[in-house]
């Protein structure tokens, strides 16, 4: 809302750069626009794969078949000598040398309802505001990578639309364009009753009306308004990136035909098209009962498309600039409960990172032999956010949001980047 530096002349170009998921509000509310602009050139992108409910580290990245807490699955060798994943992850095992795994995540919140927002906001020090989730934050900090496309797209099961609740104090315009089951929201489709020529004709009328109005009022908000229509038309023209019919059948098979596979394949297309931040949500990982049958069904659903995504990005060279994160709000308990389930365990769990300044083949984090506790340094989500911002070229300490005159750190003040996974 207020900022000491709002050079009026820059208003339009910056608004255009922000790509008009946004509007006039909030622009100028960043303290380091110069840094942000610099980074736009580098075209860093993010794919966050969110396994909601909490994937079991024992049945995925950190199998400990010798431990008292082991489940029924074997561990298998990976492409890195001496490193093993669960046998439920054969594809990821083959690309272990391309990714980093942190096995010493030690976060704080064992509840879904507060843990999910805490993790996706990166748990900055409470300053009495609702911090944005990572996707909205990156949309704000970096703007769109391709100015024709919205900076934050969220692929999720169920319904889509424009969902702005994740934007927090940044305001609605930094929310997500949500693709329900990978499909574009209905308003991206021109109704059948209107042909392309017909649409063009009515837009020509609209533009002329705006030009006439502007002639006497000439203000930046009028340009911003016109830009929002240009953005809408550009997005509609790129509807193909949401079209399942355009997918290569071979890719569909490689990624898997289950929703997570289809959604990660869709994410790849969006990244290729230049969407800055893509989040893919998968639900039902909360295996309090029957953890092993559920893991046997679920884990392959992330294993296959994750490995395919990393391989594809690597082959196309995009992995240099695209950060891929696979995580949950916490891991699962070492102790197997009476229903053959594992409960919530934030104390020691694993996540995977790849690309964009992340080391290839770093397996980070020592734990007790049974995997229950971190030995040495444990990492909280604040450290993860410092890492993510740093590899994206956003200085986590020097960059601040500015909100109603208040300077707000983008990440937890006392955390640091996790050097062990960074190039």
């Amino acid at each position: 809302m207020s900022s000491p530096c709002q050079p009026h002349e820059h208003a339009l170009s910056r608004r255009r750069m922000l790509g008009m998921l946004g509007g006039t509000a909030g622009f100028g509310s960043l303290l380091q626009p110069a840094i942000a602009r610099e980074v736009v050139k580098q075209n860093k992108q993010v794919c966050l794969i969110w396994l909601d409910g909490g994937m079991s580290q024992y049945e995925s990245w950190h199998p400990l078949p010798e431990s008292q807490f082991a489940g029924p699955f074997r561990s298998i060798k990976t492409s890195i000598p001496g490193v093993h994943f669960s046998e439920l992850m054969p594809h990821s095992a083959k690309i272990a040398h391309k990714i980093s795994v942190i096995r010493s995540m030690s976060t704080k919140d064992p509840n879904h309802s507060t843990g999910v927002p805490r993790m996706q906001r990166g748990d900055p020090v409470n300053r009495g505001v609702d911090y944005p989730y990572l996707g909205s934050a990156v949309a704000k900090l970096l703007g769109p990578a391709n100015p024709e496309l919205p900076p934050y797209i969220w692929i999720k099961p169920g319904n889509g639309g424009f969902i702005h609740r994740e934007a927090g104090f940044l305001g609605a315009q930094y929310g997500a364009l949500a693709l329900g089951d990978g499909q574009a929201p209905i308003h991206i489709h021109r109704p059948d009753a209107i042909s392309a020529q017909h649409d063009e004709a009515r837009h020509a009328l609209r533009k002329k009306a705006n030009e006439r109005f502007k002639a006497y009022r000439g203000a930046a908000e009028i340009d911003a308004y016109e830009t929002s229509y240009e953005m809408a038309q550009q997005l509609m023209a790129r509807k193909d990136i949401f079209d399942d019919g355009k997918l290569n059948p071979r890719d569909r098979e490689r990624y898997g035909t289950h929703p997570l596979g289809r959604h990660i394949l869709r994410a790849r297309g969006l990244l290729e098209a230049g969407v800055r931040f893509v989040k893919v949500n998968s639900y039902h990982w909360d295996t309090h009962g029957d953890n092993f049958n559920m893991s046997q069904r679920l884990v392959p659903q992330i294993d296959r498309p994750f490995a395919a995504l990393v391989n594809d990005l690597d082959e196309s060279g995009m992995l240099e600039n695209v950060l891929v994160v696979v995580m949950s709000e916490f891991g699962r308990t070492p102790v197997i409960n009476s229903r053959l389930g594992r409960d919530h365990w934030p104390d020691c769990w694993s996540l995977a990172l790849a690309g964009c300044g992340i080391k290839r083949g770093a397996m980070v984090g020592a734990t007790s032999k049974d995997g229950a506790w971190v030995e040495g340094t444990g990492y909280d989500v604040g450290d993860l956010f410092h890492t993510i911002f740093t590899v994206l070229g956003i200085h986590p300490r020097r960059t601040n949001y500015r909100h109603q005159g208040q300077k707000l750190a983008i990440a937890h003040d006392e955390c640091r980047p996790i050097e062990e996974v960074m190039l």
Partner: protein
């Protein structure tokens, strides 16, 4: 009387009519202060159509009908602007629209507490239909217990979250965003102290909801306050304490009672005992007192903002010495006069609307390239609120009937999320569902003030491709397109179209554009008419209250 004298009287009468106020009236004083600081060319007075649209949107939340535009443009009465303002202030639409405005300002679209939205609206509308006194409205909301016919006033108290209330009261009624001062003195605003936050909090600390055992209804009660509240900055070791205290005012002493004498009423009806000392009730009275300058100043600034598009002090919640008002004397005067007129809301709005400053055109004067909002040289265009936009679209397209539509009996709840993602192929029928779609598309996040015009991709896509909008642009009953298709001459079409959608007469360029477009698409005249209307609905001119 000689000819010259007659001429003089006629001229004087004319001057009085154009500026219907004598020199020391409030509207004239507003203009004096604004003119004195304009330091540049002022825009001309708005023409009648611009004024009519502006005042109708501001006071009734929608645009005028084409008949109203025609009637106003052909009305030769010198007093017609003042008469229009008075008519609007007395009407039901004023109560409906300002209930929306006040509700959005006070609750910021949060879903709060146990009072149904509907009851809250009815309550606000009932107050606004009469002679609403802002200080009494605020007092009623803060002191609310949930008893009697003013029960819905307790909506503002929400779930009784004392920190939210402290922040909201500071922001909305004192113009101070004290959020940061909860944990320490404000980092960038020296005069905002942690003690201000906790002084306000101390008034609310004992407030809590309680459920009546028999009725199973929630009421607001106060517990027993016996001592000051402790607080400590996260940056220092020093412990401090405060009793109930408004910034810059006397701290309220917490009375000591003999044991057994603390309560006015014992617990009854399933509700706890009522203490003699009830700080929230005191807050309600002290805050909204006509002696309380900070409250009055913030109030007039917010209402000025709602009509003028920019606060004299802006941003509205940054009241401190580093952010001085653009026109301090004017703010002083408004504050004083508002108090002298018993915080009469309609009186204040009327005075502002009567000023030439409000009635100025939003067109830039010759040779001027950009607006300078804080100088008010032109009218400042305001974005339509989601509700204004919906009502204006319904009015423009002749689909006002939608306003009274309800869900047919037996029909299930409308699946709004499915509507946005395309899985729900039905069109919403009930006004409430349609309003919710507009609020979701054009409104802000819950808890964020809607005080800025923010265009956006999703908003543009909605106006371009939403099925409802297209549905309203199909000829039906006596709606706009049905009326237009009956008109043979393109010129008559242009006139009816512009009067209906943009509330003004088309220019000759616009008339020929309409004529050419219709000539180009003779094979699909109905949809061509729809296109012409759509283009105006989607234009920036429609989207702004300019």
């Amino acid at each position: 009387m000689g000819r010259q004298a007659l001429l003089f009287c006629a001229l004087a009468g004319f001057a009085l009519a154009v500026l219907p106020c004598h020199a020391d009236s409030l509207p004239a004083a507003i203009d004096k202060f604004i003119t004195a600081k304009a330091s540049g060319t002022l825009a001309e007075r708005s023409d009648d159509a611009e004024f009519l649209r502006r005042v109708t949107l501001d006071f009734t939340g929608t645009i005028p009908t084409p008949e109203e535009v025609r009637a106003f443009l052909s009305d030769n009465s010198a007093q017609k602007r003042a008469a229009l303002i008075d008519k609007h202030l007395a009407g039901d639409s004023f109560a409906r629209h300002w209930a929306d405005r006040l509700s959005v300002m006070l609750l910021e679209r949060r879903v709060l507490g146990k009072v149904p939205e509907e009851d809250w609206r009815i309550y606000l509308q009932r107050t606004l239909r009469g002679q609403p006194r802002w200080n009494l409205m605020v007092r009623e909301m803060i002191a609310a217990t949930g008893k009697g016919e003013v029960r819905p006033a307790m909506k503002f108290l929400g779930n009784g979250d004392q920190h939210r209330l402290t922040e909201d009261i500071a922001r909305l009624f004192l113009g101070r965003d004290l959020k940061c001062a909860r944990c320490h003195d404000h980092p960038s605003v020296d005069e905002w102290k942690q003690a201000h936050y906790w002084g306000l909090f101390a008034y609310l600390q004992q407030t809590k909801p309680a459920t009546h055992q028999g009725e199973k209804k929630v009421y607001f009660v106060e517990g027993l306050a016996t001592k000051k509240i402790d607080f400590q900055s996260v940056f220092t070791e020093e412990k401090k304490e405060t009793g109930p205290k408004l910034p810059g005012r006397q701290e309220v002493a917490i009375p000591k009672f003999e044991k057994g004498q603390e309560y006015e009423h014992p617990a009854s009806d399933g509700l706890p005992a009522v203490p003699r000392f009830r700080p929230r009730e005191l807050l309600a009275a002290d805050l909204s007192s006509s002696e309380h300058g900070a409250f009055l100043r913030n109030s007039v600034n917010r209402f000025w903002f709602l009509l003028m598009g920019r606060g004299l002090l802006h941003p509205l919640d940054q009241t401190h010495s580093e952010n001085p008002p653009s026109h301090p004397q004017l703010l002083d005067l408004l504050q004083r006069e508002f108090a002298d007129h018993n915080c009469d809301l309609k009186w204040l709005l009327r005075q502002i609307a009567l000023s030439e400053s409000y009635q100025r055109s939003s067109r830039l004067p010759e040779g001027v390239k950009e607006r300078e909002p804080k100088r008010y040289r032109t009218a400042h265009p305001k974005g339509l609120t989601p509700e204004q936009l919906l009502h204006a679209i319904l009015r423009a397209t002749g689909n006002d009937r939608v306003l009274i539509q309800v869900q047919p009996p037996g029909a299930g709840k409308f699946d709004r999320r499915g509507y946005f993602s395309g899985t729900n192929k039905n069109l919403p029928h009930a006004y409430d569902d349609i309003r919710a779609i507009f609020v979701e598309t054009f409104g802000q996040l819950a808890g964020v003030a809607e005080d800025d015009f923010a265009p956006g991709l999703n908003k543009a896509l909605f106006l371009m491709n939403d099925r409802l909008i297209l549905h309203w642009l199909e000829p039906r009953d006596a709606n706009l397109i049905a009326r237009l298709r009956k008109l043979d001459s393109p010129d008559a079409v242009a006139e009816e179209l512009y009067l209906s959608v943009l509330s003004r007469v088309p220019t000759s360029e616009e008339r020929s554009e309409v004529s050419e477009y219709l000539a180009q698409f003779t094979d699909r005249r109905d949809t061509a008419l729809g296109d012409l209307a759509w283009a105006l609905l989607s234009s920036i001119e429609f989207r702004l209250n300019h």
